[in-house]
C-alpha cells in the first residue's frame, strides 16, 4: 500500500511542483525578428506614399541595398524632382547626396529627406538589434511585447515598444517614443508575402503620428532578395554611382 501511495505522490509531484519555465530571452527574440524581416545583406525596392488628410498622395520609389549590420544606401528613382538623390548610412553616420549639390552632406536621423511622417532613420533603418537593447519582455498569448532602449544618443527614437507575433516572429506594431516618453509615431506592419528564398515577411508598413494628426505614410516593399556587395559601395565617393548597382 505504501508503495502505491508513494507512486501516486511521485506521479502527482510534477503537477504541483513544476520547475519554473525558462525565462524569455529578449535579445534572442529580437535577433530572430531581424533575420525574419530581411537577410543581413540584401537589395530591395520600396515605395513610400505620403497620404494627406484630404486623401491626396505623393509617392517616392527607392532602391535600397544593405550590407552587414550597419551599411545601407537608398537611392531615389522617382519622382523626377527627387531622382538621383541618395542617402548613405554607416552605423550612426548618415549623408545625403543631391545631384545638383554634387557633394554628400551629413544629415541626422531625426531629419526627413522627404516630407511626411517617415524620417531618415525610418528610411535607413538598420536591424533593430543593432540600434536597441531589450530592456523588458512579456508574453501575452501569441504575442511578445518587447521594450527596447536606444544604444546611444544618435539613434532617432529613445525607446520602442514592439509587439511580435510569437508564431511567425514578425513584428506587428512598434511604438516609437522620445526620451520624455512622448509617443512620436506608431509603425504597423501588414500584408505578409513570400519574397522567395525563404523570405516571408510583411510587404507593407504604415505609420502615423499624434504629432501629425490625419496624416500617414505607407511603405510598400518589393523584390527583396539576398545579395552581397563590396564594402566600397558604402562610401561617400560611390554615392553618385549607386544607380549602376541595379
Amino acid at each position: 500500500m505504501k508503495r502505491v501511495v508513494l507512486a501516486c505522490v511521485l506521479m502527482l509531484l510534477p503537477l504541483v511542483w513544476a520547475p519554473p519555465a525558462p525565462a524569455l530571452d529578449g535579445t534572442a527574440i529580437l535577433l530572430q525578428v531581424d533575420r525574419k524581416m530581411q537577410p543581413e545583406s540584401y537589395e530591395m525596392y520600396r515605395k513610400l506614399i505620403n497620404v494627406e488628410p484630404d486623401g491626396k498622395t505623393k509617392e517616392y520609389v527607392l532602391y535600397t541595398v544593405k550590407k552587414g549590420q550597419d551599411k545601407m544606401v537608398a537611392l531615389f528613382l522617382s519622382p523626377a524632382s527627387e531622382k538621383g538623390r541618395a542617402t548613405l548610412r554607416l552605423g550612426d553616420n548618415m549623408w545625403l547626396y543631391i545631384p545638383n549639390v554634387g557633394k554628400p552632406i551629413r544629415i541626422t536621423s531625426l531629419q526627413s529627406v522627404i516630407g511626411g511622417v517617415f524620417n531618415n532613420s525610418d528610411i535607413l533603418n538598420l536591424d533593430y538589434s543593432v540600434e536597441y537593447t531589450v530592456q523588458n519582455i512579456k508574453e501575452d498569448g501569441d504575442r511578445y511585447h518587447l521594450e527596447l532602449k536606444a544604444r546611444n544618443a544618435t539613434v532617432a527614437y529613445d525607446s520602442l515598444k514592439m509587439e511580435v507575433d510569437s508564431k511567425t516572429m514578425l513584428p506587428l506594431t512598434i511604438e516609437c517614443h522620445a526620451a520624455s516618453g512622448m509617443l512620436i509615431k506608431t509603425l504597423r506592419y501588414s500584408k505578409i508575402e513570400d519574397f522567395g528564398d525563404g523570405i516571408v515577411r510583411p510587404s507593407m508598413l504604415e505609420t502615423d503620428s499624434p504629432l501629425h494628426k490625419g496624416y500617414k505614410s505607407v511603405m510598400i516593399f518589393a523584390r527583396l532578395a539576398s545579395k552581397e556587395f563590396a564594402d566600397e559601395i558604402f562610401t561617400l565617393n560611390y554615392l553618385p554611382r549607386v544607380e549602376e548597382l541595379r
Partner: protein, 452 residues
C-alpha cells in the same frame, strides 16, 4: 506585372482634419495659384508596377523654370554706379525662362554623363540668352574601388553650405542658392576607394589634372599650364576628414583640411581651413595709387546644423576670408567710386571710373570680398501640418561693417514634380559698407520649376 498585391490603406480621409487642409489651401493661394491642384488619390490602393523599377541604358531628365524678379536698385550704390553709369535705373524687372537637361548612358562599367542649361531673359535693359554645357564626361569603373573620369566636370569640395574655402577647383556658389548646378572644368580624374574595419572605416583618394589652355578652362587661371588637385578623404572615428592640395602654375599652391561630424541625432558640426601660398592681392592705397602685394593667407569656416524638436533646422556658419579686404580697404574703394561719379558728372572724365572698374574686377567687386561673414539659415519643416511647405529665413552679415542681407522665403513641393519658390531679399547697411553699396536694395523673386 505586379510585385505586391493591391493594398488598401483605410482611414486616409478624415473630415475632422479639414481645417489643416484648409490652411494648406490658403498658403498655396498666397504662393501662386499658377498650378492646378494635383489629382486626389481616388481609391486607397497602392501598387508597385514593373515599369517603376525598370532600369534604362539611356536616361534623360531635367526641369523647365520660369523666374520672375523685381529689383529695387540702389542708385547711389557703388555697384549701380559702375554698372549703370550712363543710364541709371531705379527698378529692374526681369523674366527668365530656363531649361536644364541632364542625361546618362551606361554600359556595364562605363558611362557618359552630361548636364546643360539654357537661359533666356528679358528685362528692362534688353534681351539676353545663354546656352552652356555645365558637365560632359565619360567614366570607367573597372571595380568598386577604382573610378576614372575625363571631360568637363563640376567639383564641389568642402563641407560648408555657404562657402568653401577648400574648394580649390570649385566654381564659387551663391549662398542664397547653394543647391544650384554649377559649370565644371575640363579635367582628367582618377579615384581610389578603400573600405576597412576599425576606427578608420573609409579612405578615398581623388586626383584631378586641370589643364588651362587657349579655349580650355581659360577662366581658371594662367594659361598653358597643367595643374594637379588632390583630395584624401578619411572616415575616422565617425568623422569625415578631407585633406586637400592644389599645385600648378595657373593658381598659387594651396592646402586645406575640412571635417564634419554628427554630435547627436540632431546636431552636426563642420569646418574648413585653407592655406594659400604667395596669394596676390591688389589694394587701393590711401593716396589713390594701387599696390599689388603677395603673401600667405589663411581662410577658414566653422559651422553647425541643429534640428529642434519642432523641426526647425538652423545652420550657422562663420567665414573668415583670408584674401578679403578690411573695412578700411573696402571704404577706400567705395570712396573712389563716389569720386569717379563726381568727376564724371562735373567734367565728363571717366578715368576714375575706369580705375574703379579695374579694381572691381581684380577683387573689390567679387561676392563676399570682405574679411569676415556670418551666415545663418533657419528653415521650418511643414509648419501647421502643411506638408511639403518650408518657410525659411537666411541672413548674411558682414561682421566688420554690420551690413547685411536678409532673405525670407517660402517653398512648396506638394505637387509631384513641381517646385514653387517665393523669395524676398533685402540688403541693407550704412554708406560705404559691403551690403550698403550693392546694386540691389531689395529683390522679390517668384520661381516655378517643373521636373521631368
Amino acid at each position: 506585372m505586379r510585385f505586391s498585391r493591391s493594398t488598401t490603406c483605410p482611414g486616409s480621409r478624415n473630415s475632422a482634419d479639414l481645417p489643416a487642409a484648409g490652411g494648406r489651401t490658403i498658403v498655396l493661394g498666397l504662393l501662386l495659384g499658377l498650378v492646378a491642384a494635383a489629382p486626389v488619390h481616388g481609391a486607397d490602393d497602392f501598387t508597385f508596377e514593373l515599369h517603376e523599377l525598370t532600369k534604362k541604358t539611356h536616361e534623360i531628365g531635367g526641369f523647365v523654370e520660369i523666374d520672375g524678379e523685381h529689383m529695387e536698385i540702389r542708385e547711389d550704390g557703388a555697384a549701380s554706379l559702375l554698372n549703370f553709369r550712363d543710364d541709371p535705373v531705379s527698378t529692374l524687372d526681369r523674366m527668365t525662362v530656363g531649361l536644364q537637361l541632364h542625361g546618362s548612358s551606361t554600359w556595364q562599367s562605363a558611362s557618359i554623363n552630361w548636364l546643360g542649361k539654357g537661359i533666356a531673359a528679358q528685362d528692362d535693359l534688353g534681351w539676353s540668352d545663354s546656352l552652356d554645357l555645365y558637365e560632359g564626361y565619360a567614366t570607367l569603373r573597372p571595380s568598386a574601388e577604382i573610378n576614372a573620369a575625363i571631360g568637363k566636370k563640376s567639383y564641389k569640395w568642402g563641407k560648408g553650405y555657404a562657402w568653401n574655402p577648400v574648394g580649390f577647383i570649385n566654381r564659387t556658389k551663391d549662398p542664397n542658392n547653394p543647391e544650384e548646378a554649377l559649370e565644371g572644368y575640363v579635367a582628367a580624374e582618377a579615384e581610389w576607394i578603400k573600405s576597412r574595419p576599425g576606427d578608420l572605416q573609409n579612405i578615398a583618394l581623388t586626383a584631378a589634372i586641370v589643364p588651362v589652355w587657349n579655349d580650355v578652362n581659360e577662366d581658371f587661371g594662367n594659361e598653358d599650364h597643367l595643374n594637379l588637385a588632390a583630395k584624401l578623404y578619411l572616415l575616422y572615428l565617425d568623422t569625415d576628414i578631407d585633406i586637400l592640395a592644389f599645385t600648378g602654375d595657373s593658381r598659387t599652391t594651396r592646402f586645406g583640411v575640412d571635417l564634419s561630424r554628427n554630435i547627436s541625432s540632431n546636431f552636426e558640426i563642420h569646418g574648413e581651413v585653407a592655406w594659400f601660398a604667395d596669394m596676390p592681392r591688389t589694394i587701393l592705397r590711401s593716396d589713390g595709387g594701387l599696390r599689388r602685394e603677395t603673401g600667405d593667407r589663411t581662410s577658414l569656416l566653422a559651422g553647425i546644423r541643429y534640428l529642434t524638436s519642432f523641426d526647425l533646422t538652423t545652420i550657422i556658419e562663420y567665414y573668415h576670408n583670408g584674401i578679403g579686404y578690411s573695412e578700411a580697404e573696402m571704404e577706400r574703394f567705395f570712396h573712389l567710386v563716389d569720386e569717379a561719379r563726381d568727376l564724371y558728372l562735373t567734367s565728363g572724365a571717366a578715368s576714375l571710373y575706369d580705375l574703379a572698374g579695374q579694381m572691381s574686377t581684380q577683387g573689390y567687386g567679387r561676392p563676399y570680398a570682405g574679411r569676415d561673414y556670418l551666415y545663418a539659415r533657419l528653415s521650418l519643416k511643414e509648419p501647421f501640418d502643411i506638408l511639403y511647405f518650408t518657410p525659411a529665413l537666411t541672413t548674411i552679415i558682414n561682421l566688420h561693417d554690420r551690413s547685411f542681407s536678409i532673405t525670407p522665403e517660402m517653398a512648396y513641393t506638394g505637387f509631384t514634380n513641381w517646385e514653387l519658390l517665393l523669395r524676398l531679399a533685402l540688403l541693407n547697411g550704412p554708406d560705404s559698407s559691403d551690403y550698403g553699396e550693392k546694386q540691389n536694395s531689395g529683390r522679390l523673386e517668384l520661381r516655378v520649376r517643373y521636373f521631368f
